[in-house]
């Protein structure tokens, strides 16, 4: 194992950018590492998407009492790949009268941003290998900026196809996506309030900070409560004490109860549910799949697309599913952390026995395992929704987005802020490190719940007043019920019905 001691190996895999004791990385090491991370990211999406299509078809057929694809490869696992190859060799039809440039561009515009947004999805906590761009401190902002470009692909496809179905599908899709982006944004802001950072890795494992709340370098002995778990910075890896290298160790006392969706109960949960609903709507999946409602619109915005261009929309949709689920995990469900902190990493004694390279690798793999499990569960949730819920009507969809999710998200946001302010007022030091005292927590929560209750009462009263007013005007302006010529049983005119 001579190469393990060579400088090249160490530059590539051993030295950490976060370790002040390590020599600085050379430029080629940076390049090779970036390329490797990129290969992991893109490779992950491109291998999982066919698997996802297979999983969806198999699960749906299982729930519908049929077999589904089971011929190509083991249990039909190679079916999506075979389909992909077939689509490559299909005729690429460009209909007459389409806007050619936009028509060809649209599938690329729909797919590229989705692939691009993989950049910041964190699958483990390593500052070197945790994501394609680990430690990017504007993670969520980047994601939102890139992911919202996707809607251009949809509307370009719909408009350029010169097809009425496509046009309607594209319009529906874009207005649905932008409507639910608001609910999504508000639930993301709720998480930002609770966690106080935009970095996707920092959101999960927390970050060390100074008195002013600025992020600083990690020191040995730091205990972080501000992520979605309790994390201690320790000198556990062999030889790390001399080099001043500290690693994040997940405390066994933390667990799923530290994840954001159970923070400031019930506000964290409300934000999580809002996000889950709007992520289904964002990806145009059932029960919000109106843009592709085959009973009304054939295939919606991609009716005119054939061959690989059609497959690109398809891939984009599935990759988008993957990405919104990964964001949901990062924001609300503890990222790569295990439901019990002790399971998130190797047990502590192993750290000093094994060589450092192996420790970090195995820890990353364990993290990836938990991330994958959660991703799998969320994808199954998507598919279950499609299997069990009927499609909404379009006016119901818009009403739900604008009259339901938007005000709910705004009020939820304000209540979280109120609760946090009260907690800070009562226990400034505890809230600063992320662990408010029990009294502070309860008073904050009760205040916020009280404000929420008052708001709900006001709303109810307004609703009741509106209802009564409507009844009164209806009674005044009601036209006497039309009497049919032969009145069999002359009765008093019945009360005008609610219009």
């Amino acid at each position: 194992m001579e190469f393990l001691d060579s400088e090249i190996w160490k530059q590539l895999f051993v030295y950490s950018v976060a370790n002040p004791g390590d020599p600085a990385l050379l430029w080629w090491a940076h390049v090779v590492r970036s390329v490797l991370r990129l290969a992991i990211g893109i490779g992950f999406v491109l291998t999982i998407v066919p698997g996802l299509i297979w999983l969806e078809r198999r699960l749906l057929s299982w729930w519908q009492g049929r077999l589904g694809p089971n011929r190509v490869g083991w249990q039909g696992l190679a079916q999506p790949i075979a389909d992909g190859i077939k689509l490559f060799f299909k005729e690429d039809i460009i209909p007459t009268n389409v806007d050619k440039t936009l028509y060809i561009m649209a599938p690329a515009v729909a797919l590229a941003p989705v692939l691009y947004s993989v950049t910041v999805l964190p699958w483990n906590g390593s500052p070197d290998w945790g994501a394609v761009a680990p430690g990017l401190n504007i993670g969520i902002l980047f994601l939102l900026a890139v992911a919202s470009i996707e809607v251009y692909g949809v509307i370009l496809a719909g408009w350029s196809s010169n097809n009425k179905y496509s046009l309607l599908g594209g319009l529906r899709a874009s207005s649905q996506v932008i409507s639910y982006e608001l609910g999504m944004g508000l639930s993301i802001i709720a998480v930002l309030l609770m966690l106080g950072t935009l970095g996707t890795q920092a959101m999960v494992q927390g970050y060390p900070f100074d008195e002013a709340g600025r992020e600083v370098y990690l020191k040995v002995g730091d205990v972080l409560y501000n992520g979605q778990g309790v994390i201690e910075a320790k000198n556990l890896v062999r030889g790390s004490a001399e080099s001043g290298y500290s690693v994040y160790k997940h405390a066994p006392t933390s667990g799923f109860w530290d994840w954001t969706f159970l923070r400031l109960f019930p506000f964290g949960l409300i934000a999580a549910i809002t996000y889950l609903i709007s992520m289904v709507a964002e990806t145009n999946r059932a029960p919000f799949d109106l843009p592709e409602a085959e009973t009304e619109l054939v295939a919606g915005f991609h009716t005119e697309y054939s061959s690989m261009k059609f497959a690109m929309f398809f891939m984009g949709e599935y990759a988008n599913m993957l990405i919104v689920s990964a964001i949901a995990i990062t924001l609300f469900f503890g990222g790569w952390l295990a439901p019990w902190g002790g399971l998130s990493q190797l047990p502590e004694p192993m750290w000093t026995i094994l060589p450092p390279f192996l420790v970090t690798t195995i820890n990353a793999l364990i993290a990836g395992f938990w991330f994958g499990i959660k991703l799998f569960l969320l994808i199954c949730f998507f598919i279950l929704m499609r299997a069990s819920l009927p499609r909404l009507r379009y006016d119901m969809l818009m009403k739900f987005g604008w009259k339901g999710l938007l005000p709910l998200g705004l009020v939820n946001l304000l209540l979280i802020a109120i609760s946090m302010a009260v907690q800070h007022r009562i226990d400034p030091t505890g809230t600063a490190i992320g662990r408010p005292s029990l009294t502070a927590w309860w008073s904050g929560q009760l205040t916020a719940l009280g404000v929420g209750g008052v708001l709900a009462l006001v709303l109810l009263a307004a609703k009741a007043a509106q209802y009564r007013a409507r009844r009164a005007t209806a009674a005044e302006t009601a036209i006497a019920p039309i009497r049919r010529a032969p009145v069999a049983t002359p009765t008093a005119p019945s009360a005008p019905s609610e219009i």
């Binding site: 990211g41 490559f88 005729e91 691009y116 010169n162 944004g185 309030l193 900070f209 690989m308």
Partner: protein, 111 residues
């Protein structure tokens, strides 16, 4: 990453163009309307509702853009926290007036 994503998308488009056969017929190239000969152009007027939704989206999306920086610094704002809260409550309050107005005017009714 961006280059790779765009490159991959472009390669997929070009590959299918290169690999696929091309045997166009007028029927095949006609816009799809369930097998019936297409009537009129698709570039027609579309419901104004979609336009309205787009305008409202811009208003509320800009509002959420303002919320992002506020949300990020809120937790670490220390003694300024109450001030921040009041400030954002005023902002959201003003916005809420607009929201109620739009609601009362029936902009969210879809029929």
């Amino acid at each position: 990453m961006g280059v790779v994503a765009i490159g991959l998308a472009a390669v997929l488009v070009v590959l299918s163009w290169v690999l696929g056969p091309r045997r166009p017929t007028p029927q095949k190239l006609a816009p799809y309307e369930c097998g019936v000969t297409p009537i009129g152009s698709a570039r027609e007027r579309f419901p104004i509702k979609f336009y309205l939704i787009a305008m409202l989206f811009i208003v509320f999306d800009i509002e959420t853009v303002f919320l992002y920086p506020w949300a990020v610094i809120y937790k670490s704002s220390g003694s300024m926290m109450l001030f921040n809260l009041a400030e954002m409550a005023v902002f959201i309050g003003i916005l809420f007036v607009g929201y109620v107005y739009v609601w009362r005017r029936g902009a969210f009714e879809w029929d």
